[in-house]
Structures are given as structure tokens and as C-alpha cells.
Amino acid sequence: MRLVAFLALSLAAVGAGIAVFVVDSMARATVALAASFVAVGAVILLLDAPYLGVITILMMLMEMAVMVVFMIMYMMNPAGLMPMSMVHNKRGARAISIGMFGLLAAGVVMTPWPQRRGRVPADPTHALGEAIMGSKMLVMIAVSAVLFATIVSALVLATGRGRYDPPEPAAPTGEAGS
């Protein structure tokens, strides 16, 4: 039962991932990527990690909803009504990625993986919370600092006006950042 669900979800995840680069419409590409993430979240749910699975679905759906805005803003032909080719070096990229998959798959199959140590705790979510608030707290503090730095620097890069510019820029194209 779990195996069937896993195979179906894996096919859905990879299929939706391929669809991202096949469909013409940017909206559909983003929704396909969201579908891939939801399938991956469901795979994680199958791995007895309910919090990680649901949080993956949550974060990725939100990211994709923001992404779709930028996708449509920055792509010519966002709806795919006038199909055009926006790729370069397709053959080389395909060869490299298939080669990469072969390499990774060989590594996966041939590596002698260590035996499983320990058992899944009764409540993995609780274990995760204990780890974040205990032994792994430093990791999370570092992540929070990185995220804060990201907010600031992304705003500095993306905003069209500096600190002393008038609040509403009249011209659509202005100086970037500080």
C-alpha cells in the first residue's frame, strides 16, 4: 500500500517536474512545480515525518504563489499563447543531466549504505522541536540571522529608490538601490 502510494507520488513528482520545462504557459509551469512539491511533501508524510511533510507543502505553495507573480512579470509570452523557444544548448543540457542522473543512480545503487540505527520516535515532531530548542538551537539562530540578512539585502537590491529619494518615484526606471 505504502509502496504503491510512494511509486504514484514519485511518478507525479518527476512528471510534474518535467512538465515545468515542457509547457508554454508560465502559469502552468509554476502550478506544475507546485504540484511536484506537493507530491514530495506527501512522500515525506509517507516517511513518518508529518511536520516536515506538511510544512514543505505549506512553504512551497506559498513560494509558488509569490513565484507566479514574478514569472509572469519577467517573461515574454507568459500565457504561452504565442509559443517561442527560450532555451539554449538544449542537447548539451540534456546530455549533462542524463549523465548526472546516471552518476547519482550508480552512486545510490552501489554505495553500501550503513544499517539503520535507532527507531523512529513515537512523535517525530516532538523530537524535532526538542532538537531545535536544544542541541540544534545554534543552527536555527544562524538560519534566522541569514534570513534577516536576506530580507534586508533583497529589499536593498530590488527597491528602486534610496533612502533620500522622494517616496513615490515618478519615472518607472530609476537608479537601483542605495
Binding site: S25, I55, L58, M62, L81
Partner: protein
Amino acid sequence: MSYPVWTVPVAAVVLMSFTATAAVLDAVLDSARRGGGWRERVGRPVWEAARLLRQRRRTTVAPDALLWRLGTSGPLVVALLMAVVIPLGGRAVTDPVVGVVWFNAFDVALWLLWWCAGWGANSVYGLVGGYRFVAQALAYELPLMFALTAPAVAAGSLRLSEVVAAQDRVWFVVWAPVAFLVFLLAVTGFSVWGPLSYPAGWDVAAGVLAEPSGVDRLLLLTGRYALLAAGAGMATALFLGGGAGPLLPGWLWSGLKILAVLAVLVAMRRRLPILRADRVMKRAWLVLLPLTLVQLLVVSVLTYGGS
């Protein structure tokens, strides 16, 4: 505690009956439209549903049919997925360890779904409505997340049955009134309802609701009421003690509380002005977000301060 899998249709029927109640209540309160006294208005949702079922689908030039159908049917599906974790009298269809996050994940799914409902029609009004929803969602989502965190922190659990059980002495609405109000506001936000119905505003010819017709429109309108019902159910479980109450059985108390919250939500539609997305954004980030954070601090201190 959870019921077996076959109770999923039962949960759907329960959700749909609350949904129908919301629709009827909204029709009764709708005094602006002509059509006689409240007696005639009670039946209006039924006639409207019948009309939409018979109506031929109107289509636009080059719509993105796949995403449009996804967007119009999505809200109802999301409401059903929310409903399966909502306890009715202490028991739900399923009671996942991360029930609160489950609810949150599906209300985030609405970002993409409402956007698709607007985008798919390939019409300017729908598109503007869809973008308005994303802008508005950016405003209400963070306060909603912290509002959801408050009961979870107070109960020390993300499991909804434990959140309900932790309210046996004091309902969390007493400790977390701000979180409760923010939660209700966010429910109107993801249901595109009342003060936050800007994505379906009349200034853009009903925005996301402008183009869907026939069955699509019926699904979308039903989904809206169903989302309100699911939100009311969640508010009852998180803040109003679930099925707790004297004399009557638990499921009846749950139902009564859900009906009361639902009535408040439905009545909001004609009592409050519609807010523009940029104003919502400003107030949400500058007022609501700090308020919910302080609320969270208060709840944390009250919960863990003594021990």
C-alpha cells in the same frame, strides 16, 4: 480520537449543511436586492443553485481551462480538506499530530487557487482580482500564522484534540482575544468575504467572480461559504473550547458554537466596509503583526510563567 475512513462523506455532508445554512442566512440578510420579505429570500440559494446548474457555461477567448477549473473547484476541495480535521464534539474524521499546521497549509493553498480562478478566465477583471487576492494574502497570512500559534502554544500541542482538551477550564478566547479576532479576519480574507472581499470587488466587476458561470460559478460560490464554515469550525475548536458546555452533548455544543461564529462571519459582509489591499497590507504589517506577537508573548507567559 478519530473515526474510520468511511466517515469522510459524513464530514462532507456536515460541512455542506453548514455551508447551506450560511448561504441561506446570507440570502435572508440580503435586504438590498428586491424580492419580497425574508420568506421569499430563504429559498433564494436553492433557486440560484438550480439556475446555475442549468446555465450554459459562458467562455472567454483563449481561457486557460485547466487552471480555471482548478481555481473554481479548489476552494470547495480545500474546505473539505480542512473539515476532516475539525473535531465535532471531541472527535474528527482524522486527528493528525500536526492538525493546526494542516489547516494552515491548506489555507496557503488558497493563494494559488484564487489566483488561478482569476488568471484562468483570460479576462482583465479576473486577473486584477487574482492579483488583489495575492496582495491581500501577503497581508493577512503572517498575522494568521501567529494567531494559530497562540492556541497551539497554550495547549503545548499541534494536535487539535489536545488543543480542545486543554481548554477544559478556560477557553483560549479569554487568554487570546486578539488572536481570535485576527483569526476571524483571516477567515474572511481567505474566503474573499466581507471587509476583505476586495479581490471580488464591484469596482472590477466582481473580480475573480466576474467570469465563472454555470457549474463553475456554483462551485466557487459554494466553496466560499464552505470556507467560512470550515473557518468557523476551526475557530470553535481553537478558541471556543470545541464541544465543551453544560447539559447538552458535545457534538451539539460544537454545532451551536460553529453556527454562532458562522452567523457573525456572514453578518460581517454588510456591516463592514471593503478594505483596499494596500491599506490592509499597511495595517496588517504595522498593527496586526505586532499585536499578534504581543498576544503570543502574553499567552506564553500565562501558560509557562507559573510552572
